[in-house]
Amino acid sequence: MTGRQLITDTQNTWCPGCGNFSIEHTLKNILSAMEQDGKSLDDVVLVTGIGCHAKIADYLNINTFYALHGRTIPAATGIKLANPGLTVICCSGDGDSYAEGLDHLIFAAKRNVDITVIIHNNRVYGLTTGQYTPTSPLGFRGKSTPLGTVEYPFNPLELMLACGATYIARGYTKKMDLLRSLVLDGIAHKGFAFIDVLQICATFFPLADYYTPRVYELKDHDRTSFDAACTKVREWDYNNDSPIALGTFYEKNLPAFDTRMAVRAMNEHDRSHAMQELLLSRT
C-alpha cells in the first residue's frame, strides 16, 4: 500500500507532554521515508507489549501485534523466524522488557535475532499509575514503595553488552534528530538492535529538567570496541548524577538467528516421500 495514512483515527490517550509522542513521531517519519525509498510498508511489523508505550500499536496504521505484558520480544522472534523478509520493530516498556519479560530480552540479545527493540524507558509504570521499575533510581517513591525503593536500578546497556547484543544505543525523547538516526541505524543493523530511549513520563516521572542538562552525544567513540563500550555504558548507571551519553555505544556484525535457523522449504510431494521413507525405516 503506498501513500497510506500512517496514523489511525483512534483517539490518542497519552498524557499531554508524554515522551511517547516523540517516539511515535519518529517512527512515523521513518516509515514515511521508507515508503519514499520504495520499501513497501506491507513488509513492516510493529510488536508491542502492554503499557503506555504499547498504545502505539493502535495509533500506527501498519501491521501490528499488540502482545502481552513482557512478551513483546518472543512474539517478534516468532514473526521474524516465520518470515525473515519482514522488518520487525518492537516497542516495549521498561516494565515490559526489564521486569516482566527480562528473560526474553536477554535471549534475543544472545541469539542475535534480527529485530529492532525500542525501549520506552520512562523509569516508572505509567499505565498502572506510578510504581517503580527496574531502572527507577534508588529511593524512588512510587505507589508500591511510598517510603522509597531499597534497591538499586540495573543498567540495561551494560546488561545488553554482557548478553551479546550486537547493536546498543541510547536515545532521548527530547533529542528527536538523534533518536531518528538511532532507530534508522537499528533497523539497518542486521541482527539484534537495542535502543534504550529515555522517555519523559509527564505525569509520574517528569525528568526533562534532570536529563536535558546532563545528556551529551557520543563523539570520537569507537563503536566497534567492546572495551570502549563497557567504559562508556558504565559512565551513568541510572542512579548517579553523571553526564548521560546518547548515541550508539556498540555495534558488531554477526550472523542473525533467523538466518541460521532458516530451513529449506519442502513441497507436499517431497514431504510425503520423506514420510514413506521414515515409516519404512521403523519397520
Binding site: 500500500m1 497510506r4 489511525t8 483512534t10 513497501s40 506491507d42 513488509d43 513492516v44 511489523v45 510488536v47 502492554i50 498504545k55 500499536a57 493502535d58 496504521n61 501498519i62 501491521n63 501490528t64 501485534f65 499488540y66 502482545a67 502481552l68 512478551r71 518472543p74 512474539a75 517478534a76 522472534t77 516468532g78 514473526i79 521474524k80 523466524l81 516465520a82 518470515n83 523478509g85 519482514l86 528473560d103 526474553h104 536477554i106 535471549f107 535457523m261 532458516a262 530451513v263 529449506r264 522449504a265 519442502m266 507436499e268 517431497d270 514431504r271 520423506a274 514420510m275 521413507e277 521414515l278 515409516l279 519404512l280 525405516s281 521403523r282 519397520t283
Partner: protein, 550 residues
C-alpha cells in the same frame, strides 16, 4: 489369543530402551502387533530401568504383569520383578553380572572373542533371547541390519555367538503377518502434525513431551520444518503465536508444569484468534510430581486453562495410530477456526511404542484456511456469520494485519466500547457452534468390546487399550471419547444407548472425565481410579471391575 511378553531390565545407562526396541522389532518381524512400555526413574545413571514388550495377534496398548521372557542385565531385574515370573518364564541373563536360573550369556567372553566394545553387550543378550524364543537367524539378521546402522556386522557376530550357545526353550510361534512400522506416540504425533502442514515446532524440554522435540529436531531437514528450543514455555507459546500471525503453522509441546507457564499465551491465542496446536503430555502431578510416570490428571486443567472464554479443541488419542491421525486433524481445525487445539496425551501414549497399521489411519492432508480475497480493506476480525474472519498475513499486499490481546474492534484496534465488546465476544464464541458441527463429522467416540453390553467402561486416552482387553474378557462395552472439547454429547449418548451400568476408568484420583460427563447429563455409576503413576495393568483392572460388578 496367542501372545508373548518380554521384560528387559537393567540399570539406567544400560540402553534398556534400545534393547527393548530391538526385542519389539524381533516380535514385529515374527508377525506380532507389539507394544512397548518403558519404565525409568528421573535420573541419568544408576537407577533401575525396565521395558516390557508385548506381542499379540491383535493390536495391543498395554502390558501384562506376568511375562514369558525376562532379559536381565543386572541382578536387580530378577529381584524387583518377582511378580512377573511364572513357572515357565524363560530367563536370559548376563552371566558376568547376574546370578540366576535360566540361560546365562557370557557377555564379557563374547565381546573379548569378537574384540567388540562393551556397548555391544546388549546385542549378545538379544541374540540369546532370539534363540530362546526360537526366532530364526534370518529374522535377527534382518532386524539388526534395519535398526543398527552402525557396526552392524560386528553386532551380528556378537549376537550370533550368544545365539549359538543358548537353546530354544520357549518358542514363539511365527505369524504370517508383515512387519509394521513401530512408532512411539510422540513420533506419531509429530508425523501427524507434519501431515497437517507443520512449519515450526517449539518446545522447552519436559518429560514426557521432550521426545517429540528430539524426534522433530532430528527429522527437521528431512521434512523441511523449523524446530526451536526457546528459553522457557512462555517464550515457546509466544513465538508460536508470532509465527502463526506471520502465516506459519506452529505447534508447541510440554507437560503440566510447562503448560502452567503457557496459559497466558493460550488466552492470547483465544483473544487474538491465533491458531496453535499444543501437545500437553501428562505425567503424575501435582507440581513436579513423578516426572517419568504417567497420569490423567490434567483434563480439567486443559479444559479451563487461561482467563476468559474462548473455543478450544481437545483431542485425547489413545495410541499411536490415533495420535497420527488426530494430530493432523488438530492442525487443520486450529487453522480453520483460528483457535488453540490440544493433543492431550500422557506418558503412556507419548513414550509407549506401538505397531502402526497405516491402512487403519485415514489420510489427512493440510487444508488451507479461508483467506482474505483483497476486495475490501482488510479487517483481521471481520464479523462473519460463522465468527471466522478471513486470514491475511503481514507481507501480503495492502493488508494491514492488526492482532490485539485487548478487546478490539473488527480492524484489531483496542476498544472498551460496551456494545462492541459484546459483539466481538459473541463473534469469537460463535466459532464454538461451527466447531461442534465440524467435529460431529468425525468419529469422536470410539466403541470397543461387546458393543451392545449393558455394562460399559468409560475411559479416555491411553487407558483405552487396557479397558478394551478387560472388556473383551468380561463381555463389556467400552465407550471412549477421543474428543473432549467440544464435548461430543450427541455421539456419546448414542454410544451409551442401552448402558445400564457405566463405570469410569481413569488414571487420576477424582474422576475428571466422570465430572465432565456429569455436566452433560451422563450418569456415572462407579469409578475405578488408579493414581500411583503406573499405567493400569489388565490383571489389576480385571480385579477391580469384577469387584465393582459383584
Amino acid at each position: 489369543m496367542h501372545e508373548v511378553s518380554v521384560l528387559v531390565g537393567g540399570k539406567a545407562g544400560d540402553g534398556i530402551n534400545s534393547a527393548g526396541a530391538m526385542v519389539a522389532q524381533l516380535l514385529n518381524h515374527r508377525g506380532y502387533y507389539t507394544y512397548l512400555y518403558f519404565d525409568y526413574p528421573s535420573l541419568i545413571r544408576g537407577g533401575h530401568n525396565f521395558a516390557v514388550i508385548r506381542g499379540a495377534e491383535k493390536p495391543v496398548a498395554c502390558c501384562k504383569k506376568s511375562v514369558d521372557f525376562i532379559l536381565a542385565l543386572n541382578q536387580e531385574t530378577l529381584e524387583q520383578h518377582k511378580k512377573a515370573f511364572r513357572p515357565d518364564t524363560a530367563v536370559i541373563f548376563n552371566k558376568d553380572l547376574v546370578k540366576g536360573t535360566g540361560q546365562g550369556v557370557p557377555v564379557h567372553e563374547i565381546l573379548t572373542a569378537e574384540h567388540a566394545p562393551e556397548i555391544m553387550g546388549n546385542s549378545a543378550l538379544i541374540g540369546g533371547f532370539a534363540k530362546t524364543a526360537g526366532i530364526g537367524w534370518e529374522t535377527v539378521e534382518a532386524v539388526f541390519k534395519a535398526h543398527i546402522p552402525k557396526g552392524t556386522d560386528l553386532n551380528l557376530r556378537v549376537a550370533r555367538r550368544a545365539y549359538d550357545q543358548l537353546s530354544t526353550v520357549q518358542p514363539v510361534a511365527r505369524r504370517e503377518s508383515p512387519a509394521l512400522p513401530l512408532l512411539t506416540g510422540n513420533e506419531a504425533i509429530g508425523l501427524g502434525m507434519i501431515n497437517g502442514g507443520l512449519d515450526v515446532y517449539l518446545s522447552y524440554p519436559m518429560t514426557p513431551s521432550s521426545s517429540l522435540l528430539h524426534f522433530l529436531a532430528e527429522q527437521k531437514e528431512k521434512f523441511g520444518i523449523m524446530v526451536v528450543h526457546p528459553e522457557n514455555e512462555i517464550a515457546v507459546i509466544l513465538m508460536g503465536l508470532g509465527a502463526a500471525y506471520a502465516g506459519k503453522r506452529a505447534a508447541v509441546g510440554t507437560s503440566g508444569g510447562g503448560f502452567c507457564l503457557m496459559t497466558e499465551g493460550l488466552s492470547l491465542a483465544g483473544m487474538a484468534e491465533l491458531p496453535i496446536v499444543l501437545l500437553v503430555s501428562q505425567r503424575t502431578g501435582p507440581s513436579t510430581g513423578l516426572p517419568t510416570f504417567t497420569g490423567q490428571t490434567d483434563l480439567q486443567f486443559v479444559l479451563h486453562a487461561g482467563q476468559g472464554e474462548y473455543p478450544r479443541l481437545i483431542i485425547a488419542p489413545g495410541n499411536a495410530e490415533e495420535a497420527l491421525y488426530w494430530s493432523a486433524v488438530a492442525m487443520n481445525i486450529a487453522w480453520k477456526f483460528q483457535i488453540p487445539a490440544f493433543i492431550l496425551a500422557d506418558k503412556t501414549v507419548s513414550e509407549g511404542t506401538y505397531s502402526v497399521e497405516l491402512s487403519r489411519v485415514p489420510e489427512v492432508r493440510r487444508q488451507e484456511p479461508g483467506m482474505w480475497d483483497g476486495s475490501q480493506p482488510y479487517r483481521r476480525y471481520a464479523d462473519t456469520p460463522s465468527g471466522i474472519s478471513p486470514l491475511a498475513f503481514p507481507g501480503m499486499k495492502d493488508a494491514v494485519v492488526k492482532v490485539d490481546s485487548y478487546a478490539h474492534d473488527e480492524a484489531g484496534i483496542t476498544t472498551e466500547d460496551a456494545d462492541l465488546v459484546e459483539r466481538m465476544t459473541k463473534k469469537r464464541l460463535r466459532k464454538w457452534e461451527g466447531l461442534k458441527a465440524e467435529m460431529n463429522q468425525y468419529p469422536q467416540v470410539r466403541l470397543y468390546g461387546k458393543q451392545d453390553a449393558p455394562v460399559a467402561l468409560f475411559c479416555w486416552g491411553s487407558t483405552q487399550g487396557v479397558c478394551t482387553e478387560t472388556a473383551d474378557q468380561l463381555g463389556l462395552r467400552v465407550v471412549c471419547p477421543v474428543i473432549l472439547s467440544p464435548f461430543p454429547a450427541e455421539q456419546l449418548k448414542k454410544a451409551l444407548a442401552g448402558v445400564e451400568h457405566l463405570i469410569a476408568v481413569e488414571e487420576n484420583a477424582t474422576g475428571q472425565l466422570a465430572t465432565l460427563a456429569r455436566l452433560h447429563g451422563i450418569e456415572i455409576h462407579d469409578k475405578i481410579l488408579w493414581f500411583d503413576g503406573r499405567p493400569f495393568m489388565p490383571e489389576d483392572l480385571l480385579e477391580k471391575v469384577a469387584a465393582v460388578l459383584s
